[in-house]
């Protein structure tokens, strides 16, 4: 009797080639991301020796690399979170931004910042606030849609998200002077994160993804129906609670890094399933998607050269791409 996580022994080579493909893809998108950052090629290559000497190399090391890692981590977290939500809620439109979790997390961060609960550069503070807000947002959606057709959940999620966005606006109305700082969280941007932010969030997100991976059996069993799950020995309510907690934790981690990045959590799981993959594929797809979107955002920023104080926020690119996907979905309904 063999114990394996992969399909059959015959599938092992397929598994290896998948891993290799993922690694190559990640390396390519990382290289692209660094290349479009506008720093000289020599500075990027110079980092390969392991030390950051020279001004340009320092800039790449202190700004470019953290930005890249932020994009990868956030994308992975959102992709996995979306995958978990879609499987648990049995709805291919369930995504962090449609289930109130993402808007809630942003509200939490902005609330914490506005009320001065934590300093603007505190990674742990932002994470805690995002967690509380994400749980609140998920709870609101849950209350609105409880006891109803799960297919209705998305509409209720949009409603809950609108409510949270309203609360966020009220918060901004309370202190309009902080509006400029708040924008970064509202649109979602991976810019301006430094190693200190990453140090904390990366553990959190990596842990969340590992947990989601460990739950992949649970997710698979839960996906068809409650009866199916119960017949296979899983308490549906308990399984759902565990999975949703993981999803909220991951979304909160992503939000504490980059704010409200839309649509990665919606689209990445679709692509992952299309590729026949599960949790880890969703993570890779999410990471590649967001790093790619951020490369585009950087390019657009160079093109618009200087008129933008913030550059082009990544969230705008993902939101526009995502609405195109959503329109196609709506048309096919």
């Amino acid at each position: 009797m063999t114990l394996t996580t992969g399909p059959a022994p015959a599938g092992r080579t397929a598994g290896l080639s998948r891993i290799a493909t993922a690694a190559v893809l990640l390396a390519m998108v990382a290289a692209l991301h660094l290349l479009v950052s506008g720093q000289p090629l020599g500075a990027i290559a110079g980092l390969l020796d392991g030390t950051a000497d020279g001004q340009a190399e320092k800039i790449v090391w202190e700004l470019g690399v953290p930005r890249l890692l932020t994009a990868l981590l956030t994308g992975a977290a959102l992709g996995v979170s979306g995958y978990v939500l879609q499987a648990t809620l049995r709805n291919s439109l369930a995504a962090p931004e449609f289930s109130g979790v993402n808007p809630g997390a942003v509200l939490g961060i902005l609330g914490g910042l506005t009320l001065g609960l934590f300093p603007a550069d505190s990674a742990a503070g932002a994470l805690l606030a995002a967690l509380a807000g994400g749980a609140l947002g998920g709870g609101v959606t849950w209350l609105l849609s409880a006891g109803r057709d799960p297919a209705n959940l998305v509409v209720h999620g949009l409603l809950g998200s609108a409510l949270l966005a309203g609360l966020t606006t009220m918060l901004l109305a309370y202190q309009p002077s902080k509006f400029g700082n708040a924008l970064r969280w509202l649109i979602g941007s991976v810019e301006g994160r430094v190693w200190e932010h990453l140090a904390f969030a990366s553990w959190w997100i990596a842990g969340g993804i590992a947990l989601a991976w460990a739950c992949s059996g649970l997710l698979a069993v839960l996906a068809p129906s409650d009866d199916h799950a119960a017949s296979l020995g899983l308490h549906p309510a308990l399984g759902r609670a565990i999975a949703l907690t993981v999803a909220i934790a991951l979304t909160a981690g992503a939000a504490s890094l980059a704010g409200a990045i839309a649509f990665v959590g919606l689209v990445a799981p679709h692509v992952a399933r299309r590729l026949g993959g599960r949790v880890l594929t969703a993570a890779v797809v999410g990471a590649v998607a967001l790093a790619g979107a951020d490369s585009l955002a950087q390019l657009a920023g160079h093109l618009l050269n200087g008129t933008h104080r913030l550059g082009v926020p990544t969230g705008v690119i993902t939101a526009l791409a995502g609405s195109a996907v959503l329109i196609r979905l709506g048309r096919s309904q």
Partner: protein, 257 residues
Amino acid sequence: MSVMVQDLHFSYATRPVLAGIDLTVEACEFVALVGVNGCGKSTLLRLIAGLLKPSSGRILLGGTDLASLSRRQVAQRLAVLHQTLPPVPALTVRELVRQGRYPHRGPLGLLWESDSMDEALELAGVAHLADRVLDTLSGGERQRVRLALAVAQDTGILLLDEPTAHLDIRHQLEVLELVRSLREARALTVVTVLHELDHAARFAERIVALHEGRVWADGKPTDVITPQLLADVFGVAGRVVMDNLHGTPRCLLDAAL
């Protein structure tokens, strides 16, 4: 593994569904539950599967009280084929059958044996479909795959809720024949809800007819399938003839009463 139901009562809110059911299914027996819609046969099946809590009474699986077993322990003893399996996007046959190993998972739910899985695919005759996406299969193939899932679960008891619903006649026979051969291969105790009386008589060793929440008749097909049953339980005037080839009774239905 035997199933024992003792003085089982159940009601949805205020509506009583089962009013005192006593039933013993011996190990390796093939029992069909028949009755009109709403007579409580699916409810009884769900109660035995531990998916509902009885109002009163006991259920024993292989001598152990169901109430004292955890969900996972129940799933190790008993597999259920529900009426429908809602579609899951991009779910492959192999992925679904692999889920049968969930009750036997290791710590963290990570390690799933794959040997018994391949065996289940072979037994149910769906090994060639293993990498297909479930939604692309025909109704008959889907039922076979779901039986493979139940086999992979490696239990002593198999419960089926109308396994032939929505299938054409050829696939109905195919599925029931598969159930019969699986039962022989794995020494399964089979309890199935069936609508088609002829199928019940043909495949089951014993038929239990439920009527208004009680056991109306319980015995060999030749004893249970009578014009009296057709009239009293199903509200149909009919005759029962003997099928000499199989030695089982067949119903000729004449009119609704």
